[in-house]
């Protein structure tokens, strides 16, 4: 079996086929973009429709106070228009001020002063209801205190006007009663940089290697596996030579990613990525052998890539309480790449993991080839 010829054929196919190259080019571009812009804040300003049916003046005062909130943008409109906007996903919530809002507050009643409709299509909506309640409370408090002032003997219209003037900016001022949050002792140091560009590129590379093994599945047109098995070839060696061009391309694609990430120790991360990508190829071999059928492979590949990347912390940070996950993830190559990225010890662990996955891959492919020969 001429594995070298297979390697050459595969490398030529990868380099000549633009769509294969495009996959890795896009992965590089996306990773660089993440590296450069992951710190930028998203645009804010969720639109909320306000329907003011209040017959008195306090509804307008509530709108004034609401307008001071910066997280949301308000649009005063009719009920029908508000429903239309929310239905069409142009707004995310409705505040409906009831017709007797002023009257109720004047009487000291507090039941259902506003009706709120919320579309839970955003994480930011979590604070929306609390904010509306607080703003209604502000109007209510103003009215209560004004009422108390009105009860003072000898108070005149001038005093009430003065009070109204003074309260205009009271809600913009610092609160006299405040709470400050203090985070408890952290068991691991907070990383200033998250290096999501490098981490996500590693995830995409692993998926790339897994999905590149579709030629091992039943529906493949090339029938390569059948031919090699027929000639008594070794499936593991075949997989290695078939994957090698993909590994090299992923490795080359990593160069611009690491350069643009601004990592202080690129050499170590580069070495670690090399070991990681080889280990990922071994995992890919196992996945391809187990899948058998291509439709299984295309389902298992994204799910298993997501799982191992998640457990190793590459996809996103593991919460501190998930210690067990963190400990068990030492058997996953991504764990050691993560360590290398955050300048922790990685070399021995990653080599052992590579050796382990490689041995498992060889064993499973041997069983797989026996099964094929049967």
């Amino acid at each position: 079996m001429n594995y070298y010829a297979l390697l050459k054929g595969r490398a030529r196919a990868l380099l000549m086929d633009f769509s294969s190259l495009a996959v890795i080019i896009i992965a590089v571009a996306v990773s660089i973009y993440i590296s450069k812009y992951s710190g930028n804040e998203n645009a804010r300003g969720i639109i909320i429709e306000i329907v003011n049916e209040d017959k008195g003046m306090l509804g307008s005062r509530l709108i004034e106070i609401l307008s001071l909130e910066e997280t949301f943008k308000y649009n005063v409109t009719t009920y029908d228009e508000a429903i239309k906007e929310v239905a069409g996903n142009k707004a995310q919530g409705i505040i409906e001020i009831v017709p007797d809002f002023s009257e109720k507050i004047g009487r000291g009643e507090y039941e259902s002063l506003v009706h709120i409709t919320v579309m839970a299509d955003s994480y930011d909506m979590t604070t929306f209801t609390e904010m509306v309640i607080n703003d209604v409370i502000k109007v209510w408090s103003e009215k209560l205190v004004e009422k108390r002032i009105g009860e003072i003997d000898g108070v005149g219209q001038d005093d009430l006007t003065e009070f109204r003037e003074q309260i205009k900016d009271v809600w913009n001022r610092e609160s006299l009663l405040d709470v400050e949050s203090v985070m408890g002792k952290e068991e691991k140091t907070e990383e200033e940089e998250n290096y999501f560009g490098i981490r996500w590129y590693a995830v995409l590379s692993m998926f790339y290697l897994c999905i590149s093994g579709t030629w091992m599945c039943n529906y493949s047109s090339t029938g390569l596996l059948r031919r090699v098995s027929g000639q008594g070839g070794n499936i593991a060696s075949l997989f290695i030579f078939q994957s090698l061009p993909g590994i090299v391309i992923s490795f080359l694609g990593f160069i611009p990613v690491i350069i643009t990430s601004g990592h202080p120790d690129p050499v170590n991360v580069f070495i670690s990525f090399g070991i990681y990508i080889c280990s990922s190829a071994a995992i890919a071999l196992i996945i391809c052998c187990i899948s058998g059928k291509f439709s299984n492979l295309v389902l298992i590949s994204p799910v298993s890539t997501m799982v191992v990347s998640l457990f190793s912390g590459l996809l996103c940070e593991l919460p501190d309480w998930a210690r067990l996950w963190d400990i068990t993830s030492v058997i996953i190559p991504g764990h050691w790449l993560y360590n290398a990225i955050f300048e922790k010890r990685f070399f021995l662990g990653s080599i052992l993991v590579l050796a382990g996955w490689f041995m498992i891959g060889i064993c499973i492919s041997w069983i797989f080839s026996k099964k094929k020969n049967h």
């Binding site: 086929d17 205190v145 009070f163």
Partner: protein, 402 residues
């Protein structure tokens, strides 16, 4: 072969011996684990957000004690909070660090007198990083409402200033002061009632959970369309490209693929849907209202899968295109769909995105059904289904040797 046989045949091809369907059914589990990783404290505690907290009140005033009782007692009664009073600040902080409680609230001496005399008083909310997600949700609620209370004191101060200017007796001024503060406390106790709800805090604190569940539904459904993308691309390159198939027959192949694909995607909901209902005790009528949305979502993603598969000659390229499109759509819905400062074209694309419509149906249909939004989202999904199907069939015909 009759149309029904086409579908059966294609299901057999797509599902294999059922292994693919089982995989599709089980595929949400790792994704559920991922979400559970961040939402576990919320998921495991029914509808509320549960905290065990320590408290140290070094302010001996009656008013602060009353205020804290108002806040804490209601949440304790509801089972949202378990409170352990401590005698030293270090003890409370240590309890948080050792994971015995999630939060520690510290009220320093003279909190009441400072705030009442116009000096800013600051309490401390010490929380465990491992419970940061829900602790900060609680913190946001308590901070904003207490801040309003604190700002309200400024109003009473203004009233007292007017009373002093009018030359009222000290006794009278104290009376105005006390009544003003009591008024504020009353307002504070009933803050939930202004929107017709009981309780003091945590209104809408689970919206992020609703959104996460909906994203999970749509993401898993989309991931289940990967076999459809790959098989379609392969069929068009290897089978239909080499044989001449009549248009009518090709149409039935096409429809059979969409239907079998939709059935495969539906299987991914088989576990997710009951799990979601169980976790959040979703009302039956709301839960049932989502079923048409689930069916239409499956059909749309299946048609999209066939369209993507028809666009590319190589199965892998089609798969990658599907992956990138899916990732961009998920990211768009997760981070952009509610934003207003977007270019008009992107905002419009977000509005008509079938992925967004699908997420919206799940997040809103399951929890508080706004019929108008539901109808709009169903319309978006149906339109997307028609467009993807027509475009897919045109490409299907173009790529096959008619």
């Amino acid at each position: 072969m009759n149309p029904f046989m086409f579908i059966l045949y294609d299901i057999k091809r797509l599902f294999g011996r059922g292994k693919t369907a089982y995989l599709a059914m089980l595929s949400p589990i790792p994704v559920i684990l991922m979400f559970a990783l961040f939402l576990a404290p919320v998921l495991t505690q029914g509808n509320g957000v549960f905290f065990s907290g320590a408290i140290l009140n070094e302010d001996n005033s009656e008013s602060v004690e009353q205020l804290m009782n108002i806040i804490v007692n209601y949440e304790v009664k509801k089972g949202n909070v378990a409170v352990y009073p401590v005698k030293e600040k270090e003890t409370g902080e240590r309890m948080v660090d050792e994971g015995k409680v999630a939060v520690f609230m510290y009220i320093p001496p003279d909190t009441y007198t400072d705030s009442m005399s116009g000096k800013r008083a600051v309490m401390e909310f010490y929380y465990s990083p491992s419970r940061a997600f829900d602790a900060l949700t609680f913190y946001t609620g308590i901070k904003s409402s207490l801040s309003v209370f604190g700002q309200g004191i400024r109003l009473v101060n203004i009233a007292v200033g007017i009373a002093e200017k009018l030359g009222l007796s000290e006794e009278e001024i104290f009376r105005i002061w006390d009544e003003g503060v009591i008024d504020l406390q009353n307002v504070f106790i009933h803050r939930g009632r202004v929107i017709g709800k009981n309780g003091i805090f945590l209104f809408g604190a689970d919206y992020h959970f609703r959104f996460a569940i909906a994203l999970l539904f749509a993401t898993c459904a989309y991931m289940s369309s990967f076999p459809i993308i790959y098989l379609t691309s392969l069929d068009l390159s290897e089978i239909f490209n080499k044989r001449s198939i009549p248009k009518r027959r090709l149409f039935w192949y096409f429809m059979a693929r969409i239907i079998s694909g939709a059935i495969l995607i539906l299987s991914s909901f088989l576990i997710m849907f009951p799990v979601a209902r169980l976790l959040r005790q979703i009302q039956l009528d709301f839960a049932l209202s989502v079923i048409p949305g689930i069916i239409l979502t499956s059909l749309v993603f299946s048609a999209l899968g066939v369209l993507t598969g028809s666009m590319f000659k190589r199965g892998q390229s089609a798969l990658w295109a599907g992956l990138y499109f899916g990732t961009a759509s998920i990211a768009g819905v997760a981070f952009l769909s509610d934003k207003t400062e977007l270019p008009e074209a992107i905002a419009f694309l977000m509005r008509i995105s079938p992925f967004r419509a699908s997420v919206s149906i799940f997040s809103n249909g399951m929890f508080n059904l706004l019929v108008e939004r539901y109808a709009f989202d169903m319309f978006v999904l149906f339109s997307a289904f028609v467009i993807f199907s027509v475009a897919g069939f045109v490409l299907y015909m173009k790529r096959s040797a008619l």
